[in-house]
Symmetry: none
Subunit: 237 residues, 2 copies
């Protein structure tokens, strides 16, 4: 690999020296990689984050475009769990487990994560219609903002996403109303981390519970997050 890298560097150097253009290749651009475990830790983490986000985005698009229901659970090597679901994780899973295909789907996209125990069943279901709509129009630039702040998932999370949470909370209110009317496409939520305490509450939220969830609104797709914080001590994936 070092050899390859060297080669690449040389190529670039050549380009730089031989080409007398304004357009200088500053990077090699995307390189082809073979699909095998990435040995370099930090690299692996970065890839994990990027690709998980990409996966969720794809899932989101699939839901919207085709009207499908999707649930995804991802566990990082470091034991953190991320989930994506439309209409929501649990309903899809439940149905899967039961083999039950009846029932109408709720219209929302929800994300959840890992908890130490079984609070699972009830956690929130929320949808992000608003964000989605809003975002759909302004789409691009927000991502950066949303993302800014470091890898959300790898820190103990705490007071982050203050403004966002607030904003999010407000959005939820509206959402509640709209949600009843809406139906399928929506998605979104970005992630901020949520203090575990937020999550812990609400042992049993009824259907429109609000409350605890955290969301990540990075892109125009829904993403999810880690509510539970019981394991945060590890500091990484």
């Amino acid at each position: 690999m070092s050899k390859k890298t060297l080669h690449l560097y040389l190529s670039r150097s050549v380009s730089l020296s031989t080409m007398n253009n304004k357009k200088v290749k500053t990077t090699q651009g995307r390189q082809k990689i073979d699909i095998k475990k990435i040995e370099n830790i930090s690299n692996r983490q970065v890839t994990f984050s990027k690709r998980r986000a990409g996966l969720f985005k794809k899932a989101s698009e699939l839901c919207i475009l085709s009207g499908a229901q999707v649930a995804i659970i991802v566990k990082s090597p470091g034991r953190r769990t991320f989930a994506f679901g439309h209409p929501n994780v649990d309903s899809v899973i439940d149905r899967y487990l039961a083999g039950n295909n009846s029932g109408a789907a709720a219209s929302q996209t929800c994300f959840a994560s890992n908890y130490p125990s079984e609070f699972n069943e009830h956690y929130a279901q929320i949808s992000k219609e608003l964000e989605f709509e809003k975002k759909r129009s302004t789409m691009i630039e927000e991502s950066k903002v949303a993302y800014g702040g470091g890898l959300w998932w790898d820190e103990p999370i705490d007071g982050l996403g203050l403004a966002e949470l607030e904003q999010y909370a407000a959005a939820l209110e509206e959402l509640k109303k709209n949600v009843a009317m809406r139906a399928d496409e929506l998605m979104l939520v970005k992630a901020a981390s949520v203090p575990s305490s937020m999550f812990a509450m609400n042992p049993n939220v009824s259907s429109d519970g609000l409350g605890d969830y955290v969301i990540d609104q990075a892109n125009d797709f829904g993403d999810s997050i880690v509510p539970i914080g019981y394991d945060f001590g590890h500091g990484h994936l």
Copy 2:
């Protein structure tokens, strides 16, 4: 849309007539679309299929590259269920539901699908190792390395594999029988891992023409499929 289409056609026509090159644009290539429900039925079905495959592939790559565990359940609008899982769907889901991170994971990539009722639990565990083997020979040999070398789940997990493989082998036997009966389309796992795909069998498949499984080995990733056919009458997703 018709307008747009017209435009595009015209553009192509112009290109054809004005450009006197060998290189004639035969298609428009990928077009940008906005993420909203596709109204055209057949189009939606096609997109669903393509994107679901893409999603599973991405998931597969994520698992391999980062060592993550992933489970995905997808329900088509037509109520068919597709699932992807690594090490396998159920283990990931179970863990998710229980919030339990202990336990070793099975060492396989598996796929399952929907059943009319609750035969679920028992759905077949079979894999298409055969296909895989066949492919593996022509494809890549790193599978073992990749798999063995990287603990999929680096930490709680440990040396699993052996027993599992054995079990897996047994499952294969069954698969061989069942495979002949039904399924849908499945894809293959590539290098990674111990590829195994499981799919549920269905006790009663009705007619519908869809045949049964197809093993699609187009790509290098594993995919899963629909065993059950109770709903095939619809003729589509």
